[in-house]
Every structure is written in C-alpha cells, then in structure tokens.
C-alpha cells in the first residue's frame, strides 16, 4: 500500500499550512516538588486510594517480608525472574518448603496454559515511582518478562523509596525515556479495574486482582 502512503503524505504536504510553532510553557508540570519522605507518603496515598496494598520493608529484610506475605496468603507458587536483580536476591534466601518459587525462564509458548491457570502470584522489580499521582514504573524485558505483572492474579512489586520521582514528567527525564525507550515500558497505579457497569468500580477485571507494593525505605 505504498500508493496510499504517497497519496496521504502528498496531500498533507500540499496543505502547506505551516507557520511558527507555538511555544511550549511546561511550568505547570514543574510546579510539583516534594522532599523524599513526602514523595513516599504521596505515592502511597495515591495508590492506596485505588486499592493498592503496601508492605513496609527495609533494604535488609524485604525478601523476608515477601516470604511472610506468601505464607500468610497460602500461595502455592510465586513467579519470578531468576536473572533480575530483585529476583536473584529473593531466591538467595528463599526457604524450600511452602510457597514455591517458579522461574520465568522459558518462552511463554512453553507454559502459557500454566501461566494463566496455575500461577498464584508474580514478583517483579520496578525502575521507579511517581509521587504526584501514585504509580510504579516498570521496564519488563528478558530478565522480567512482560506478562509477569499482568497475568497472575496477584502482582507483588518491589519499590525502593529513593527511586520515587516527583511526577511522571520528572521520571521520564531521569530515566531517559524521552530519547530511547525499551521494547515495553509501563506505568502502573493499581490493580486492574473497570467502571463499565453503571459506573461502579470493580477490581480485577482482566489483569491482577491485587497489587502489593513492597516499599523499601532506603532513605536513611
């Protein structure tokens, strides 16, 4: 259909309505600034308002916090990325009994059915958070495949307080997403939800029914 391409671009060019580009005043995006502690509080407040659950942890004890959650919920298994930093740290101290760690180490085609019906929860790291509105930034990829944060009914995400940015605007700048982006990048603010039936909020429509943030206070 390169004919269509030529015709469309030709018509757009012929329209010739060019002119000085209007200037962009981005001050409104830069007004939002908080201290590191305030950022942590804001993020939590924003995400809790949309049913995200928080587990408090320290840099040393977060694997134990994840473990305790799994035991408490009686999860059979937890999907994780064995080569990701967070995944490797989690596996290092995982006790063999109880909830089984399940590595996402094969192409999805090899266990699609199991992924959909036999996995209780998925565990991923994050690359940052957004204080203004509440949200996690994720960069899935080879170490933590894309479906880990989507298909299992519970998504457990590890967030270090020091990586929380003021706003999505500042996060895009800090992460350098403006210039080049990974194959998939995500902003996630809560568990999957819908208001399509009579404007009534219902959680867990297609994606995870629960989002658990393990918030590591590394500000000290």
């Amino acid at each position: 259909m390169s004919d269509a391409r030529t015709a469309i671009l030709g018509r757009l060019r012929a329209s010739g309505e060019t002119g000085p580009l209007p200037s962009l005043d981005t001050a409104v995006l830069e007004r939002r600034q908080w201290s590191a502690t305030e950022r942590m509080v804001r993020l939590r407040k924003g995400m809790e308002a949309v049913h995200t659950e928080f587990l408090e942890a320290s840099p040393a004890n977060w694997p134990a916090v994840v473990r305790a959650f799994c035991d408490r919920e009686g999860l059979n298994n937890l999907l994780y990325g064995p080569t990701s930093e967070a995944g490797a740290a989690l596996a290092a101290t995982w006790a063999a009994s109880g909830t089984q760690l399940m590595p996402y180490d094969r192409p999805v085609e090899a266990f699609k059915q199991e992924l959909f019906t036999g996995v209780d929860a998925g565990f991923t790291g994050t690359v940052g958070g957004v204080a203004e509105t509440g949200g996690l930034l994720l960069m899935p990829g080879s170490a933590e495949p894309r479906l880990m944060s989507l298909v299992p009914p519970i998504h457990i995400a590890l967030l270090r307080a020091s990586t929380i940015q003021d706003s999505f605007w500042s996060a895009v700048k800090v992460l350098g997403w403006g210039r080049s982006l990974p194959p998939n990048a995500l902003l996630i603010s809560g568990p999957s939800k819908t208001a399509d039936i009579e404007q009534t909020l219902a959680y867990g429509v297609h994606g995870p029914k629960r989002l658990i943030v393990v918030l590591v206070d590394d500000l000290a």
């Binding site: 209007p22 981005t26 409104v28 192409p107 080879s142 989507l150 997403w177 998939n184 995870p208």
Partner: protein, 480 residues
Amino acid sequence: MHAKSSEHEILFRDSASKALLDPQLRANFRRAMDGLITKRRNQFPDPGDLQDLRHLSTAIRSRSLLALPELLEQFEANCTKNGIQVHWAETCEQANELILGIMQARGAKTLVKGKSMVSEEMHLNAYLEAHGIEALESDLGEYIIQLDGETPSHIIMPAIHKNKDQIARQFSQKIKDAKYTEDVDELTAMARRVLRQKFLDADAGLSGVNFAVAETGTLCLVENEGNGRMSTHVPPLHIAVMGLEKVVARLEDVVPLYAILTRSATGQAVSTYFNLITAPRGTDEKDGPQEVHLVILDNGRSRMYADPQLRATLRCIRCGACMNHCPVYTRIGGHAYEAVYPGPIGKILTPQMEGVGVRHDLIHGSSLCGACAEVCPVEIPIPEILVRLRREATHEDVGSDVLGKGTGRTATEDWAWRIWAGVLKRPALYRVATWFATRFGKALPAGAPLIKHWTRTRTKPVPARRSLSERMRTEGANHV
C-alpha cells in the same frame, strides 16, 4: 442548486425525540454524566493550573499538526527500525483489507480486541466476521454491547446506556453456565472468566493507539482494565490501528496530554495502566508479540487537515468530556446520533467524514451553548466549527474542500430563502408583507405547517402590532 430531499436521511430530530421519551435511558445517562462531571471537576482544584495545562496541551497538538507529514515519516522510520511493520490506508476499506491480509498471512482465525474507536469507524468486526474471522471485544463495556449486537453509546464508556439489571439479564442469557446476579463484582468475574480463555487462545490481538511518539517509534495505550495489555502482549500477533493525527514529536509531549486526558475523561489523575510499546518480542525476550503491525488510517483526515479552520478537529484526544458536558448528549445519549462518534465531537467529525449533506440535521442539533469548547482539553472551538459546517452544507464556496459541500439544502429551506430574498429586494412588497404580518400574525394558528415544528415545544411568538420602522416614522426617533 441541489435541493436534496431528506427522505432517505437518518434524521437526528427523530431519533433524538425518541430517546427523549425513554425515561430509563435518560436516568441512566443523567446519573452517569453527573458522576463524570463531578469527578472531572475534582481533578482540577486550581483553575489556573487547569488553564495552563490546557494551553500547553493545545500548543502541543497544534505543533504536532503543523509538522504532521514530517512527524509521520519520522515515526514510520523509527517504528520500522524497532521492528514494527507500518501500513497506510486511505479509506476504511483499505484498512480492513490490510488487517485481513496480515491475519491471513499468519493463518490467524481469532482476534481479541482492546478498545479502539478507529476500528469502530472501520466497522472492522463486521468485515472480519464476513471473512470468517472471530473478532471479540475485550473491554468490559465493549464486550457487553457486542453481546447484544449494539454500538458504543460513548467513546470512553461504551455501555453507559445500560444499567446493572439489563446487563445481569443479558449475561445470564448469553454466557454459558452463568447464573443471574446483579452484583457488579460477580458480573465482572464472569466476563473475566470468559475473556481470559479468549486471550489465551487468540491468534491475534488488536488495539488502538492513544498517542504515537515520532522520536522513539512508540505506541502509547491508556487503560484501566488490562485488556489492552492482554490484547497487545498475549497473542503472538499484535495489530494496532490509528488515525494519522495521533503522532507527536517526543515522549515529553505525551506527559501533559496523558495527564489531561485521564482527568478530563474519567476524572482520574492517572489510569491504572499506561503501556508504552516500542518493539515486538526481542531475541532475548520470553514473551510479547512476535509481530507488531500498525495501520495508519486517513479516512477524511487529510481533507480536514487542508482547511485552516477545520484542522482544529484533528487536535482531539478523544477524552469524551465534550459529550459528558453537552446538554443535548446528556439527555438523549449516544445512540440517537446514529454515528460512530456521538456528542459534540461526533457532530463535527461525522459530517466531515461522511459528508455535510448526509448528516445535515446533525449539525443543526445544537444550541451552540459552548459547554463543549469550555471543557475541551485541547480547546477545539466546536461551536465555531459547527457554524462553519452549517454554511458548508448549504453553500458551494470556491476553495472549500468540505465533503459534500452544498448538498445539505432542503427544498423547503430553499424556497423559504427565495421568498425572503424576493420580498426584501422589493420595498413595496416588503411593506405590504410587514403590514400583514403585524396585523394578522396573531391570527396564524400555532398548528400551521412549518410553524408547528417551532410551536410544538414553544409558545408562538406574537408580532408587535406595528413594526419598528412604522413607529419611527410616526413617533420619530429620540437621538440621545
């Protein structure tokens, strides 16, 4: 002069009148729209911030349009570099054929769809089904209306015209093994069960595109449910469709547009998911689609682009705020428009896509109150564009590119104006006509032809006993 009879036309007047008589429909809409208006208002506590964000958003959309051909080329080049295959379609037909071709080349027989208004514009589902491909909507609202063979009544909340009882009845009849329940969580769980299996089995997934980033070759998708992520990441093949106006220069441009989109649309500061897709599954990746295709659709957009005033139509980010605040839409709902895009934005889009003559009375079904322009996050002057299209419908202005210009005249309107012009051109006749109107206007029955359309819902105006010029002649003017 074309005098077009309105016999075969879908009359907005008729469908709107019918909708007004349906108390259930009106109650459903009133409740939903009031909720959305309040939620949006709460998201903008500072009017100064709102105006700054609107001006910025408007400037970004205008800038992107000014550079549109260059941005589209840059976007295409970067997508291609990332492994996304780009296709172009001038018409909906071409776009449908392209999608069918992409699916057939992979032997794909089933398609799960994330929400996409462009695919509605293309009537893609019907086309694919006619070619033996199952196309299933997975957005809960879209799924609900697809079960009943309906079309969306709102661009953001497609099933907003239905209430819980109606959906409960529908699910219990149409979903296998479903019991009757009015519990929203249980209804949602039923849809989840059905659709999860569909995601798992589907050969291909389709999505729209909220924003396209030229500099990185990225498709941005905004959603709450996760069905968009499912449709784009579970099946081995992902096909995206977008109108050609969606492209912006940089990801930084998307940030304010995204912020104002979710706040204007559903009164949320942020959506549950903001999904940025830049490439298909990489060689070292374990999931994600093996192939990503993008179809860029024109369907009249380049014609809107050519006109300096109408080009503003293309700034739209499809937030739906104009319909939520429209005194007409909130009373009659979306179906009365009998068009893919309802509400104020639909009133300016539909005639430009299908022709001003075809939808002649649609552009008149507005009081031009301006509520839409006041809330529009990208400041589209919808009332001004409506007035312009009203002119286009009845004139054949040289230099105008509007589809079907001049074809919206009706014989009655034509005659009325001819008589009016004839009288005004002849002073003697004018005086006689005024004399009759002032003396006997009162006697004209309210049910007289033509007049009855006005008097059906309004009191009949009574002309003054003497016209202004008569009184000036006899009483003189008091020049202050």
